[in-house]
């Protein structure tokens, strides 16, 4: 028996397949596009083309589009799934997970292998992947490009926490002839600031701390977060699949 997890986020849709003995057999990420339904259908076709049938095995959906996955047997929230997925990837049972998603940022504390406490930012895109995307666009690059640029920058900060105002600030920085590298640095710094402030509000304390979600490969962001929180931030190359893996694990858990 295989276990399938589907994670429909606001920007990307992911799937992960785990075998009975807990090996990651398959994973894939595609853009969500404008329709969660279509994205879930595309994932289904992808799975089938690779020999996995989501209808024949326990399939759990998560993410903000979790209700748009008609073939899933169950829905579990992204909080629970990210926690389970991250604990599985990093093999830990006590610590903190920071997930920077497209739409929201989550900070999840786990102990004894279960969620103890979490915080989700409210109705504001500052400090989320969306913020980074908008800013990257203003700098005529993409998220990965922005991370790269920022490594060579410094010295500039943006004060606005709100995406709309921050964008205006960036445009005026560009107009003033500020170096793109420095602006990219300022953008990452502002995200890290906002996220770190949330983490501090939760009093996450010391201990294991990992970053999941689409930005987990951005070394500059990790370094900046680590600096602001005064502790090491770990990530995993499959970190963006934490939600999908957690969903698959939820199917397995229910079964046992």
């Amino acid at each position: 028996m295989n276990y399938i997890g589907i994670d429909i986020g606001s920007t990307t849709a992911k799937t992960a397949v785990l075998s009975e003995d807990g090996t990651l057999l398959f994973r894939k990420v595609i853009p969500t596009g404008w329709s969660s339904k279509e994205a879930s259908q595309n994932l289904k076709e992808l799975l089938e083309a690779n020999g996995f049938s989501p209808e024949a095995c326990p399939c759990v959906a998560t993410g903000y589009g979790r209700v748009s996955v008609p073939y899933a047997k169950r829905q579990v929230t992204e909080i629970t799934c990210h926690a389970r997925g991250a604990m599985w990837l990093h093999e830990f049972s006590e610590g903190t997970i920071i997930d920077i998603g497209g739409q929201d940022t989550k900070i999840i504390q786990v102990a004894g292998g279960t969620v103890q406490n979490f915080l989700m930012n409210d109705k504001c895109s500052a400090g989320t992947g969306r913020f980074l995307e908008v800013m990257a666009r203003a700098l005529e690059t993409d998220t990965a490009g922005l991370c790269e640029l920022s490594a060579k920058g410094g010295g500039v900060t943006i004060s606005s926490m709100c995406t709309v105002f921050a964008e205006t600030e960036i445009i005026s920085l560009v107009g003033r002839g500020e170096k793109r590298e420095n602006i990219a640095y300022a953008v990452l710094d502002s995200i890290a600031d906002k996220v770190a402030a949330q983490a501090k509000k939760m009093r996450i304390g010391e201990g294991f701390l990992c970053l999941t979600g689409g930005l987990c490969e951005c070394e500059e962001l990790k370094a900046s977060l680590a600096d602001k929180l005064g502790q090491e931030v770990i990530s995993h190359p499959d970190g963006r699949f934490a939600g999908a893996i957690g969903a698959a694990l939820s199917g397995m858990k229910r079964r046992r």
């Binding site: 909080i79 629970t80 929201d104 969620v115 103890q116 406490n117 409210d122």
Partner: protein, 384 residues
């Protein structure tokens, strides 16, 4: 009340009570009975009752009039204040329209300054509520109650006798006891009914002008629920949630729904829509009945008080008595007192009572229903 009806129908009757009372209030006015409107649990109803007036809560619970209110009030103000002011200003609330006077208290800053503006087009009487519950401030609050008494006597041309006040105290205590008995059905595990239905009764009862009838109605309903429970009619076992924070009603019932649509059950309301406004009684035997009334109201554990130990005391008691698995606090956007106090509540719930706590900040829109569902579901998954 017709108790031959099935429970769901009975709950619906309560849910419709507010709307049905629109007509009643008109009739009451036609009979020449004065009406006193209020916005807050600190309003000492007994005084108005003793003046022979009907009392009604004007607290607004919809976003319909917020944009009208924002013509006069700042945008970043608590939606309860904006909506209440908006309904008053646009004359869309029949209760407000028929109120001879509106009694407000100096609770939070937003409300007390809003009353000033409201006073420009309505008869508003503002009572100065102290910021603390120390014995030293009790005489001042008692004076305010006496000032209200004198004002109503003059306004309605009546005499408020001590006998009438004691009568009102007795009746209100009976109502509070009946309310408490009623919501105590939720102490059962599994719960007999949904918190949403419990809420309909708590909320609807506040709009029943036939106050003398309330204790008997509630007693009959409680008995019916207990009897059906004994016959095995109950929910399945699910995570038991206590709701605390700002007053709930109308649009913000979305929080109750988010809990109950996603597998939990609300077993207790600590806020003003529930236990906070019912839990304490006035000492009926007190020699100085006005002081007893003053004490009872001053002791309400609202976040406008500093310090506010009574909120923790009541919450702790409810957590134990109702076998609560988790606490959800609902705060309204821009409500400073509750938003700040939430950090004290979190600490108390998680370290003294050792159960999980979550706070959600919301407003009178439907925009955040998706996110509310996700967050509350995640909280419930955590309790599993």
């Amino acid at each position: 009340m017709n108790l031959v009806q099935e429970l769901p129908e009975v709950f619906e009757t309560f849910a419709e009570q507010r709307r049905n009372s629109f007509l009643t209030v008109k009739k009451i006015k036609e009979q020449g009975i004065p009406v006193v409107g209020s916005y807050c649990t600190y309003f000492p109803t007994e005084i108005a009752m003793a003046a022979g007036a009907a009392t009604v809560s004007l607290c607004s619970t919809s976003d319909e009039t917020i944009s009208a209110a924002e013509e006069d009030l700042p945008k970043n103000l608590c939606p309860l204040i904006k909506s209440s002011y908006g309904f008053a200003k646009t004359d869309k609330c029949p209760f407000f329209y028929f109120s001879d006077v509106v009694v407000g208290e100096s609770t939070c800053d937003g409300k007390k300054k809003m009353y000033e503006l409201m006073g420009e087009f309505k008869n508003v009487f503002i009572m100065e509520l102290p910021n603390s519950q120390r014995d030293a401030v009790l005489p001042m609050w008692k004076d305010e109650i006496l000032r209200l008494k004198a004002y109503l006597e003059e306004l309605f041309g009546v005499e408020i006798t001590e006998e009438k006040v004691r009568e009102a105290v007795k009746l209100n205590n009976d109502i509070r006891r009946a309310m408490k008995n009623f919501y105590s059905v939720m102490q059962h595990e599994p719960a007999p009914i949904k918190g949403g239905d419990l809420f309909k009764v708590l909320y609807g009862t506040g709009f029943n002008f036939n106050r003398k009838q309330i204790p008997a109605d509630l007693a009959a309903l409680t008995e019916k629920i207990e009897k059906e429970y004994a016959d095995g009619k109950m929910l399945d076992s699910r995570p038991r949630i206590l709701i605390t924070g700002c007053p709930i009603g109308g649009v913000t019932e979305k929080v109750i729904r988010a809990v109950e649509d996603n597998g939990g059950v609300v077993v207790a309301f600590e806020n003003c829509s529930g236990a906070k406004s019912q839990d304490r009684l006035v000492d009926e035997e007190a020699e100085d009945i006005y002081e007893a009334i003053a004490r009872r109201y001053l002791d309400i554990g609202c976040s406008v008080m500093t310090p506010n130990p009574n909120r923790l005391e009541l919450m702790g008691r409810l957590i134990d008595e109702y076998q609560v698995d988790g606490v959800v606090e609902m705060t309204l956007q821009a409500c400073h007192t509750y938003n700040i106090e939430s950090s004290t509540i979190r600490k108390y719930v998680t370290t003294e009572k050792n159960i999980p706590y979550m706070s959600v900040e919301t407003d009178y829109s439907q925009q955040d229903v998706g996110q509310l569902n996700t967050r509350i579901t995640a909280f419930l998954e955590m309790l599993e």
